[in-house]
Symmetry: C2
């Protein structure tokens, strides 16, 4: 338990709620949850299933028709042929990560991951007594691991490497050649490359390939929460090599029984033409927000290395304003009524230099936020 | 992974499906899932919430109003005053067990539990590198742990004891005095008593008290799956001492983010007078089934030590028919088209002597099952 740090943003959130209770109008840019409702076709599919009484346990790896639908999604979107037997539904991407790490790592094994990164990743590893090895990354590699970084941190205990593309908190993509090279290195040394593609649907430049295109040996983690706007439904998925599926299934039976059934029926409607049109419209809206917020922050003096390609986050260097990004976030909330996430939630590499902005609010609110922040940093 | 055994009933189930594909009419008495639909008021509450767009993340420990509703349930049903701050919603009882064991046990710690028992329990412990210590129990203690059994297996590494009342697979209750004494022993020695009350609503003799009535230090695990007929929704809860709640919350934030939101809204309707009337009617129906099936099996020569007080299981000694209960279950399926669960799924104590019957099918089907079994054992 000692290694499992609290989320510092919870302090910010608690203070924001207290201020709201006093009547303050707080702009929430700390929330990693899209502000869009679940698309109507998905909602209708859920209600239909619930009305039909389709709310019993499903198989541990999910409904076969949904596993096939996800396999079809890889075919349609990426041109990748992956059999449905390699796809498993999970209770959120969290469930996928738990199953994959449980199937791949023993106590004492090491998993390499980027710092900064999503904090739960290292906590999952610690939970099963594996050792998260956090590799410092910065703007020079777009906050992503490279083959060189992975090689230089490799030990005889290294059993897995975790990439996140796009990354939370930075929104940056891993390079195709790095994914390919790291996958080959892992395969050659009997380790597993896990690629978190939770935000992969939310990319605003080009059409990056899934890591599945680069190697048949990688494990993919994905989610219906972000691109598909189904956060509270708690449904994710994984794609793994056939050789891991038996172990993953046994773990899923024991640790979860099965993912939530209403969510699975809902998700069956996620790949329809109608839903995809809604999702793409929202992706465009998120791109507009990014294209507004990123240059506005840069102009004020927030350090951004380029326009991050995906997700809905900007990881901004605040060292031109402060030597303590947590105090900066607290003060921004108190004085400007804008809530953001301090860097220390994402790792140990210069967390005092960074804050994360989530553009999960509509453009007019982002404009107001920028006005407030400008006044705050100019004061 | 090696310690995580597959469910042998999956072999039975797979064979049952194959036979069904050939047109055989299989009676499923292996399924630990009630055959009743989710009660209509719960279904309506879910649909209303989904239509309203209430499908975003909730706090990690669940919606405050549902935590209060569960606290109210303890007041109304058991006369126990427990603050809502000690209640946490979880992703099924599985999620509750994961959080509790994660918060209580470190690698190498021992947890005492009855054998036979629910197989996932020991797998959860192994998953976090704790050591499940399985204490052989039999009919002489109604398959439950007693103070003496717990004391005689206690070591300096013992950090938790797990009771299940009613038990899966036996349906038997732990005695109040044993719960009280074991709780006191745990408190005195700095360990935690965890009581699985997943089937506590399904008791057919008297109105047993929750373990919360016997000690403020126990941890309770419960579920909306069984008594509330909400299996596929994946919602459970725990009640823990205040001192554990901070650790449980941090783990919940990291491992699960939050339990499924549609299920939480649905469950808000679980405690209404209207729903409770439906649930009690079904409990009576399950009692009628038990009262039919148990004596019918006894008469045929299946060994049952009394009428188990709760759950929907009968754990029957088949040693008058066979020395290999797994082969017996396989043959019963092939020749009599009745699927049951072999003892080896529940532990290492004479598993070859036992099978589990689940009375999760309506009375006419149970009658047909009894006729088939009679013909089979008389042949």
């Amino acid at each position: 338990m000692e290694g499992i740090a609290p989320f510092h943003v919870m302090d910010i959130l608690a203070r924001a709620k207290a201020l709201e209770a006093q009547g303050r109008d707080i702009i929430h840019l700390e929330v990693g949850e899209p502000d869009f409702p679940t698309p109507e076709p998905i909602v209708r599919a859920a209600i239909r299933a619930i009305e039909n009484g389709d709310v019993h346990y499903t198989p541990a790896l999910g409904m076969p028709e949904l596993r096939r639908a996800i396999a079809g999604f890889y075919q349609d979107r990426y041109g990748i042929d992956v059999p449905a037997t390699r796809v498993a539904l999970t209770t959120g991407a969290s469930g996928a990560l738990m199953l994959v790490l449980g199937a791949v790592l023993d106590a004492g094994d090491e998993i390499l991951m980027a710092d900064p990164g999503y904090p739960c990743n290292r906590h999952f590893a610690q939970f099963i007594d594996a050792l998260p090895v956090r590799i410092p990354v910065g703007p020079e590699t777009a906050f992503q691991l490279t083959l060189e970084l992975v090689e230089s941190h490799w030990t005889e205990n290294t059993k897995a490497v975790l990439l996140a593309s796009p990354s939370n908190p930075t929104g940056t993509l891993a390079r195709d050649e790095d994914i390919r090279d790291i996958a080959a290195l892992c395969a050659a040394r009997g380790a597993v490359l896990i690629v978190d593609e939770i935000y992969h649907g939310l990319v605003y430049e080009g059409s990056p390939q899934t890591a599945l295109a680069h190697s048949g040996q990688v494990v993919i983690i994905n989610s219906f929460s972000k691109y598909f706007h189904m956060t509270g439904w708690r449904l994710g998925w994984l794609v793994a090599p056939e050789s891991l599926m038996n172990g993953i299934e046994r773990l899923a039976q024991n640790l979860f029984l099965a993912p939530p059934t209403p969510a699975q029926h809902a998700a069956l409607a996620a790949f329809s033409t109608e839903t995809q049109a809604i999702l793409e419209e929202r992706r465009m809206e998120l791109k507009v927000r990014r294209n507004f917020l990123a240059p506005a922050l840069s102009e004020m003096g927030f350090g951004l290395s380029g326009l991050p390609a995906g997700a809905f986050y900007l990881y901004a260097d605040v060292s031109s304003f402060t030597a303590d990004s947590f105090a900066f976030a607290e003060k921004l909330l108190e004085e400007a009524a804008v809530a953001i996430t301090p860097g220390r939630d994402f790792g140990e590499v210069s967390p005092e230099k960074y804050v994360r902005f989530a553009y999960t609010r509509p453009l007019p609110i982002l404009r107001e936020a920028v006005a407030r922040i400008l006044k705050f940093v100019s004061a």
